[in-house]
């Protein structure tokens, strides 16, 4: 190693503190967290009689307590490398002392994050994701830019233990950048249904909240529905408003989240960085990848763009909390088919191709039609029969449109779904608008579940579920003979393979 490296080794062998200006970051972090948690207790008594003096005193006391906690936290938080054991060590705590040592080989990815305050002070938050049941997520709240980059370099270096030739390779980096225009395109074409659902949920959540605060707008809302304002123009206006809300919120969130997205090959890893308000840097190593998935809808197919999501092995599956699970997902928005192939090639060192294609049984269509179309229609009919929400004419029109849509959805769900097996990969595609394709390397399979309901036994049909450390994929209504053959072969390959799944 060079001289510089020796100097770095010396620095990191002894305990390091976080950056002093970083105390501000920790302070605001804690302050916001405390305010968030106790906000409801503050607001409710204040709605009726607002006392500015009391308010300021509360804020000041909270700030003072936070400051003391911040100082203790800062003083008793150190990190260092143990170069003998190849461990990264964090010591923290004043009352309850904790010593965390993470073997470098267990570190799955290192994320450098910046929120607003980090950006002003030119600091970084370091997050290390580890996999395995005995691990905890390691994070250092605020360090200088140089130290952050050094740590990243170090862990990369020690983890791979590759020769210098490998590092030289980084000069001819393969880069993928997603420009602003592509982000706009992808923002306008993705996630229609998710955002729509989110907006509806938000709307009802807000109603509930206002109701809890005794600001009652529900009567006016329901009287608005009952007043029969369901004319053609009204419906048109509401639809336009909703569509506008979906488009704009999609566009804004995509641009903010993925602004200046770039992906670079670095040694054997892929480094991704993006973000407008809080920028993120993620290091992803290909052998930790469990599921490679991409989504493309009809419009995106025409303009040749897709959203790639890469699922990595995560320790958080068993606890399955939504937030930490997100850390093991890597998003690549707006890749064209060439980029997609390049990334796939980089991760798996091979191409994806369909070799044996299996379509689901036609019963998938009928079951979906029953669940999506006929069952809700029957409920709707019964309710309308007893409570008379709509006049007969209106009812018939709504019912007809609904049945047509459910027919279309069920048909597309059936038409778009297939399973394909090749020498090293298994691939499943599904969806009616956003068509999702998921690819798993066969030796990364953890276990296989075959489900067969009693009424499918006679039809000789069954469902297949394939589990990996990064999530599972399911494919229903397969011919049981084919399914048995596939299962036997998959299991056989997993057992024969010496390659590690992580």
């Amino acid at each position: 190693m060079s001289k510089l490296d020796n100097l770095l080794i010396k620095t990191f062998s002894i305990e390091q503190r976080q950056s002093k200006t970083g105390m501000l970051v920790i302070f605001f972090d804690k302050f916001i967290k405390i305010v968030k948690n106790f906000l409801i207790f503050l607001i409710i008594p204040m709605i009726n009689d607002f006392d500015i003096v009391f308010f300021i005193i509360t804020i000041l006391i909270t700030a003072l307590i936070t400051a003391v906690i911040t100082f203790i936290d800062f003083k008793y938080f150190t990190f260092q490398f143990d170069f003998d054991k190849n461990d990264f060590i964090i010591k923290k705590g004043f009352f309850k002392k904790t010593k965390l040592s993470v073997p470098l080989s267990k570190i799955q990815q290192i994320n450098l994050n910046q929120n607003f305050i980090h950006k002003i002070l030119n600091l970084y938050e370091i997050q290390m994701d580890t996999a395995g049941s005995d691990s905890k997520e390691v994070s250092i709240k605020a360090v200088d830019k140089n130290i952050a980059l050094d740590i990243k370099k170090f862990t990369d270096f020690l983890k791979n233990n590759d020769s210098k030739i490998e590092i030289k390779k980084t000069i001819n980096v393969d880069e993928l950048e997603i420009d602003f225009f592509t982000l706009i395109k992808i923002g306008l074409t993705s996630r229609y249904f998710q955002t729509l659902g989110f907006i509806v949920a938000l709307f009802f959540g807000a109603l509930e909240y206002l109701n809890a605060l005794n600001i009652n707008i529900i009567p006016s809302f329901s009287s608005f529905i009952k007043s029969g304002n369901f004319g053609f123009v009204a419906i048109l206006i509401y639809t336009v408003i909703i569509i506008f809300a979906v488009f704009s919120s999609n566009l804004i969130s995509t641009v903010i989240k993925f602004y200046r997205f770039s992906a670079k090959k670095l040694n054997n890893n892929l480094t991704l960085s993006y973000g407008l308000i809080s920028s993120k840097t993620i290091l992803m190593s290909p052998n930790k990848v469990q599921v490679f998935s991409y989504t493309q809808n009809w419009i995106q197919n025409k303009i040749d763009l897709c959203n790639i999501v890469i699922y990595q092995a995560s320790s958080s599956i068993s606890t399955s909390s939504e937030k930490s699970n997100d850390g093991s997902k890597v998003y690549i928005p707006g890749a064209n088919s060439f980029d997609r192939k390049k990334i796939f090639q980089f991760i798996y060192k091979s191409n994806d191709k369909n070799e044996i294609l299996i379509k689901p049984n036609i019963r998938k269509f009928f079951v979906n039609l029953f669940l999506i179309g006929i069952l809700p229609s029957a409920i709707f009919f019964t309710l309308n029969y007893f409570f008379n929400f709509f006049e007969t004419i209106n009812y018939l029109v709504i019912q007809l449109i609904f049945i047509m849509f459910s027919f279309l959805i069920s048909y597309r769900l059936y038409k778009n779904s297939f399973l394909s097996v090749s020498e090293n990969f298994i691939k499943v595609q599904s969806g009616f608008w956003d068509i999702k394709t998921r690819i798993i390397e066969i030796h990364k399979i953890q276990s296989i579940v075959i489900d067969q309901d009693i009424w499918y036994k006679r039809l000789n049909l069954a469902d297949l579920t394939i589990c990996t450390a990064g999530g599972m994929i399911r494919f229903s209504f397969i011919d049981f003979n084919k399914l048995k053959l596939i299962t036997d072969n998959l299991i056989y390959k997993v057992e024969l393979s010496n390659r590690s799944w992580m």
């Binding site: 070799e355 044996i356 097996v421 067969q452 589990c467 048995k484 997993v494």
Partner: protein, 172 residues
């Protein structure tokens, strides 16, 4: 169609088949534990039922609630025996298989080289009958973890040794 499917080189036909494996049943005594568990559930949900039918709005429907509740439990109890017979397991050379379920039959296969760790559990009731359960964990999440209940204590220990030895051997 079928010929072109099976002749492909990717899917081999002369390999071990899950279908042909003779699955073994769990200990007969386990049916008593199943009955006890169902009785406990019966008592708990009966209390729930009493509370629900005392709610004012549902006062008129209380008979219907009780009848549907009792019908449901008669069904559940009468399924006990079939459900017991459906619980089967097998340890092969390279993997283990567990299958269960009356209406929704599911068969799980875990290769030994994907098992993270395993554990033997013994609950209070199963201690009376001298039974144990053995659970296998993978990195694939709790959905596919196999838990074979109703093994005799010796069998559970025996299989634990067997699988542990397999895992050790594969590590080398």
């Amino acid at each position: 169609m079928k010929n072109s499917f099976t002749n492909n080189k990717i899917l081999k036909e002369n390999i071990p088949q899950v279908e042909q494996v003779e699955l073994s049943k769990i200990e007969d005594k386990y049916i008593f534990i199943m009955l006890i568990n169902r009785t406990i559930w019966f008592i708990i949900s009966f209390i729930g039922c009493v509370i629900i039918s005392n709610i004012e709005i549902l006062d008129n429907y209380s008979i219907a609630i009780y009848i549907s509740f009792i019908v449901l439990f008669i069904l559940i109890f009468s399924f006990t025996r079939i459900s017991f017979q459906k619980k089967k397991y097998a340890f092969r050379d390279h993997d283990l298989i567990y299958s269960s379920g009356v209406i929704f039959t599911s068969t799980t296969i875990i290769p030994y080289n994907r098992i993270q760790h395993l554990a033997i559990h013994q609950s209070f009731i199963s201690r009376i009958f001298d039974l144990s359960s053995i659970q296998f964990y993978t990195a694939g999440g709790s959905y596919t973890d196999i838990s074979i209940k109703g093994l005799s204590k010796e069998d559970a220990e025996k299989w634990k040794e067997f699988v542990s030895a397999k895992i050790e051997k594969l590590k080398k």
